[in-house]
């Protein structure tokens, strides 16, 4: 390739490159300015397992069978089944604790649950300065589900 061809090629490719960069410059930035604007959750994204409430009865779907507890690899779920005064076991959890500091968000508890009692919330802002704050109780997990559901109704459907 001769000198003039090389100079011409260099000039042409530089012109193409600069045209691309100046065009990109006048496009809308793809950055999301996080605390002010929040990106929608992708389908199938996971953050924390939460407890679902039956809309008709207002009770938890959970029957305290303990399958999620056993399927959890890091053993972060701890369930105590409710008992009545006579000592008879009841089909709902007395306590349901989830230690998010151990939870690895593997989704196995949700897959193990036969009663559709758990699902992944669309809530990620859960950080805390105290590790104790990351142990979520039954009520907190229900609240999280409600928050997540409200956000989801506003933000769109999710599987």
């Amino acid at each position: 390739m001769g000198l003039f061809d090389r100079v011409w090629n260099a000039a042409k490719s530089m012109a193409v490159g600069h045209a691309i960069t100046i065009r990109e410059m006048f496009h809308r930035p793809v950055t999301v300015r996080y605390p002010e604007e929040k990106p929608p959750f992708e389908r199938g994204s996971r953050s924390v397992p939460v407890l679902k409430v039956n809309e008709a009865t207002g009770l938890l779907n959970c029957v305290a069978c303990g399958l999620c507890e056993r399927s959890c690899p890091p053993s972060c779920i701890e369930i105590v089944q409710a008992v009545d005064a006579a000592g008879k076991k009841k089909p709902w959890p007395e306590t349901f604790e989830l230690d998010l500091s151990h939870c690895m968000v593997c989704n196995l508890c949700i897959e193990a649950c036969p009663f559709d009692a758990l699902e992944m919330a669309d809530v990620v802002e859960l950080s805390s300065y105290q590790v104790q704050d990351l142990i979520f109780s039954k009520d907190q997990l229900t609240e999280l589900w409600k928050t997540s559901k409200a956000l989801r109704v506003a933000g769109g459907e999710r599987i």
Binding site: T21, E24, M25, R28, P29, V30
Partner: protein, 318 residues
């Protein structure tokens, strides 16, 4: 005493401008790079479009420890940032800012400009040698090879303009363009050589081998921190402004333009050239050292000499 007072006023004025200019250009560079990469650039620190980012940077640099590496060549290491500021400040002396406004309109303004900027090499060498660091020395060596190779085409590319204008005085060169038309149109070859060579002289991408981060950390200012490092940056951005200003004075009619006052035109054109420099910086990748030297000695030098010959021939025939 009057002459001293005037000189002091000029020096203070130039220093204030150097600071304000660096303040603006650092912010502009971030914004331009951000938008070219489809980001926003700085926003959080505050001010319109995050302009206080530069102020935050300066505060941070002021608060940093001034650390001298062990085994450093004490005086060279301490003086290098100061020496890098000297040419950066001195070149403002001859810039034709307005129709009647030049700090000191020397008869040899153009040669003065080139000669003062050649001092940058000494500062880089002092920093590279004084740091007692192999990356610094490598960076200084690269900078030396680069500045030395591109100084020649840089000066030769301006001679075409000097031939047409018939003077080395920058005000006369600008005044010649008000009648003759901007030299950019006749001296387009000279301008291209000038622009490439001045980017190389500024050590900016695609010619930033002297501080190529991925190869030699940060080149000659690897060991610097705090205000000493800030002085290198200050000099770099000041040089970016002044070399663009020289290009405007030589090829784009300096303060020449309708309606607005001269200095507004001058600043406007200069910042447009600065923007083009940033645009190039965020478009092109860094080139290799052998390509750099080939470009300088085997392409730009012959082209600029041919430009001088062609210009002289045309002037002789005309």
């Amino acid at each position: 005493m009057n002459i001293l007072l005037a000189a002091a006023l000029k020096v203070v004025g130039v220093l204030v401008f150097v600071m304000a200019n660096a303040f603006m250009l650092i912010w502009l560079e971030r914004k331009v790079s951000g938008y070219i990469q489809r980001r926003y650039g700085p926003l959080r620190v505050g001010g319109p479009a995050g302009i206080y980012q530069s102020a935050a940077d300066i505060l941070k640099l002021l608060a940093k420890e001034d650390f001298m590496p062990g085994g450093a060549d004490r005086w060279l290491w301490l003086l290098a940032p100061v020496v890098s500021m000297v040419p950066a400040v001195l070149v403002y002396l001859v810039l034709p800012i307005g129709r009647t406004f030049t700090l000191q309109d020397l008869g040899v303004g153009l040669v003065f400009f080139s000669s003062v900027t050649s001092f940058t090499l000494l500062a880089i060498f002092m920093a590279g040698w004084g740091s007692n660091n192999k990356y610094s020395l490598l960076g200084a060596m690269r900078a030396g090879a680069q500045l030395f190779s591109y100084e020649v085409p840089l000066i030769l590319s301006t001679i075409g303009v000097v031939l047409i204008a018939g003077s080395l005085r920058l005000q006369t060169i600008v005044a010649a363009q008000t009648q003759h038309g901007w030299f950019f149109f006749e001296q387009i070859v000279g301008f291209i050589v000038f622009f490439i060579a001045s980017i190389a002289e500024l050590n900016r991408t695609p010619f930033d081998l002297a501080e190529g981060e991925s190869e030699i950390i940060a080149g000659y200012h690897t060991e610097y921190s705090g205000m000493r490092w800030a002085m290198f940056m200050l000099a770099e951005y000041s040089n970016l402004f002044t070399s663009s200003a020289l290009g405007v004075a030589l090829f784009f009619g300096g303060w020449h333009g309708p309606w607005l006052p001269g200095w507004v035109w001058f600043l406007l054109k200069t910042y447009i050239v600065v923007f083009v420099g940033m645009w190039i910086r965020w478009t092109l990748p860094r080139i290799r050292i052998d390509q750099l030297l080939d470009l300088g000695w085997k392409f730009l030098l012959p082209v600029s000499v041919a430009n001088i010959l062609g210009t002289a021939l045309v002037l002789m025939v005309r």
